[in-house]
């Protein structure tokens, strides 16, 4: 069943830059869609457009989520959807958490934005979520502030915040890019487990083909605001049709396989 359907999405900033240009996306419930591309490909803008969080931009096209047309919703209904049915995890967890509030407060705040509950109940939810995303001593850590956590733990907090309302769709925008590789492995493992447990669909936005290969069912390759290639991960990775996709796969030096003398580059020089 299709959970998210995007048709002919166009995003044009007030500056005249066209960030997304006629994009189509399909994501079924419970599946993981990888959206890959380099910076400026429009992948992050797409995610913000789905949430209705773009400012100073003209958005046109269809964004259908669970049978509702999001572009037709007013701010109030859209706000009810955000965090509740569609949650988001961003790239840099330190700057994405407010330094002035404890992590439990920030999780509870998300919960209370959509549930009529008291502070205590919301706090219990927050502690439970911290436990679920693998933060040791959740009772004690709940009262800590973001700067007291490591990068990986902060991203776990962000994930706890995103999943506390059991959303149908989690948009993860470069969720591991700011993290070290062993911590990235932990977070990817966590996402794999949570996906299995909760059945949340994930839109995984990343520049890293390896991250997509390990998590996604389908993949869309974006370049300059357009989707240049799409399909099930196996097809796209093993039989890429477009030169851009082939280049993207080949230009990243790998830790396995034969060593090329020179790395292939993607067309134009820097």
């Amino acid at each position: 069943m299709s959970l998210l359907t995007v048709r002919d999405l166009n995003v044009e900033f007030r500056s005249g830059v066209r960030a997304v240009d006629g994009l189509d996306l399909d994501l079924d419930a419970g599946r993981v869609l990888g959206v890959v591309g380099e910076s400026g490909s429009g992948k992050s803008v797409t995610s913000l457009a789905v949430l209705g969080l773009l400012r100073d931009a003209r958005v046109s096209g269809e964004i259908r989520f669970a049978g509702r047309e999001l572009t037709a919703l007013d701010q109030r209904s859209l706000r009810r959807l955000r965090g509740d049915r569609i949650a988001m995890v961003f790239q840099d967890p330190l700057s994405c958490l407010n330094p002035y509030y404890s992590v439990a407060f920030q999780i509870a705040e998300a919960y209370r934005a959509h549930h009529r509950t008291g502070r205590r109940q919301a706090h219990r939810v927050a502690v439970h979520m911290l436990d679920r995303v693998g933060i040791p001593e959740p009772e004690r850590r709940a009262r800590c502030y973001p700067h007291e956590f490591s990068g990986g733990m902060r991203q776990r907090v962000m994930i706890a915040m995103a999943l506390c309302l059991e959303p149908d769709l989690l948009i993860a925008d470069e969720p591991t890019t700011a993290l070290d590789v062993t911590v990235q492995a932990q977070i990817l493992q966590l996402l794999r487990e949570l996906r299995k447990e909760s059945g949340t669909a994930i839109m995984l936005i990343t520049h890293d083909m390896g991250v997509v290969a390990g998590l996604a069912d389908h993949v869309v390759v974006m370049h300059q605001g357009r989707a240049v290639e799409r399909g099930p991960v196996r097809d796209v990775f093993h039989r890429p049709q477009q030169p851009y996709t082939r280049g993207l796969l080949a230009c990243v030096p790998r830790i396995d396989g034969p060593l090329p003398d020179r790395l292939p580059t993607l067309g134009a020089t820097t």
Binding site: T182, A185, A213, R234, C251, V252, I255, L259
Partner: protein, 320 residues
């Protein structure tokens, strides 16, 4: 050897946020020894906070080591002052991570490229156009300012500046990690071409194991201020001996869904211990999959287990 560093230690005082009183110290680099031979590229990998960037600053003497020696071109750089270091800097240059913040935004590229000569009190013997051509930029770029360039181009300018005085060794600290993947490939290719052309040696510091594998001849792996393993490039990737190296390699996502689905994953548990209060014994034992009493009691020394291969582990993986 071109560069021989022995037992480098760097401690930073840690101050209380409010009272500014010294609350202790962090040993950012804890007894690092490494060699770089002529024409060689030593890759130095590790995660953030492991001390690899501090090593770069010590070797280029942007920081003064707390103890240890750095032999380069027949002198020990460890105790030299800035005046004595000046002639040394002709042969020892650095390329930084963020190309924009390492280029003066008010200067033209021509002025930036004349900087190393000015510092040495020399007349530029290479016109800016010549230096730009070496790194694949056009002569007309010489009179522009840094903000007119893309990240990749700015990094090329940084490399051109490092090469102006024909150095023997270039220390590259995360030179590609701020760049897009396709641009990374171009800069890595450029660094290799320049090495061949000018017989350069590199110390290539990065957290990206793919990039390090691509460019290095030998590799050293750092964890919490110390080197835990050094080996030739192919040996390291084929048979990592230290459990941390193994975990590091198994954590790198492979751009292949089938390999990703079938590979053995070693997911390390917990966080990097605080460098303020590192664990006693083996530094890695809190996250190691197979620690025992010996690991808690005694810190393993870096020892040679095969030609060209050193490991700091009581129980290294067997290597063929």
């Amino acid at each position: 050897m071109l560069l021989e560093a022995r037992n480098l230690v760097k401690r930073f005082p840690v101050r209380h946020a409010l009272t500014r009183r010294q609350a202790g110290h962090i040993t950012a680099v804890d007894g690092v020894s490494l060699d770089v031979g002529p024409g060689e590229t030593l890759g130095l990998v590790g995660e953030s906070g492991c001390g690899k960037s501090t090593v770069a600053k010590l070797l280029t003497r942007l920081e003064r080591p707390t103890s240890g020696s750095i032999h380069f071109a027949g002198r020990d750089l460890a105790g030299l002052d800035e005046t004595a270091l000046r002639p040394v800097r002709r042969d020892l240059q650095m390329v930084f991570q963020d190309p924009f913040s390492s280029l003066n935004p008010r200067h033209t590229v021509r002025q930036i490229l004349a900087g190393p000569y000015r510092y040495q009190g020399l007349e530029p013997d290479q016109p800016a156009e010549e230096l730009l051509a070496r790194v694949g930029l056009r002569p007309e770029h010489a009179d522009r300012h840094p903000h007119e360039f893309s990240g990749g181009q700015a990094q090329r300018i940084g490399i051109a500046r490092a090469l102006a005085l024909n150095p023997k060794l270039v220390v590259c600290d995360e030179p590609v990690s701020a760049l897009d993947v396709s641009v990374q490939a171009q800069i890595l290719n450029l660094l290799r071409d320049l090495q061949e052309q000018y017989g350069l040696s590199y110390l290539f510091i990065a957290h990206d194991l793919g990039a390090v594998r691509h460019i290095s001849t030998r590799i050293a792996v750092m964890y919490l201020g110390s080197i835990v393993e050094t080996a030739d490039r192919d040996a390291l990737f084929a048979h990592p001996a230290h459990p941390y190296t193994r975990a590091l390699l198994s954590a790198v996502p492979l751009p292949d869904p089938d390999l990703e689905a079938s590979r053995e994953r070693i997911v390390l548990h917990g966080d990097l211990p605080s460098p303020l209060d590192p664990p006693g014994g083996c530094r890695f034992r809190t996250r190691c999959p197979k620690p025992d009493e010996l690991c808690a009691a005694e810190r393993p020394r870096l020892r040679t287990i095969a030609p060209g291969r050193q490991v700091a582990c009581h129980y290294p993986e067997r290597t063929p």
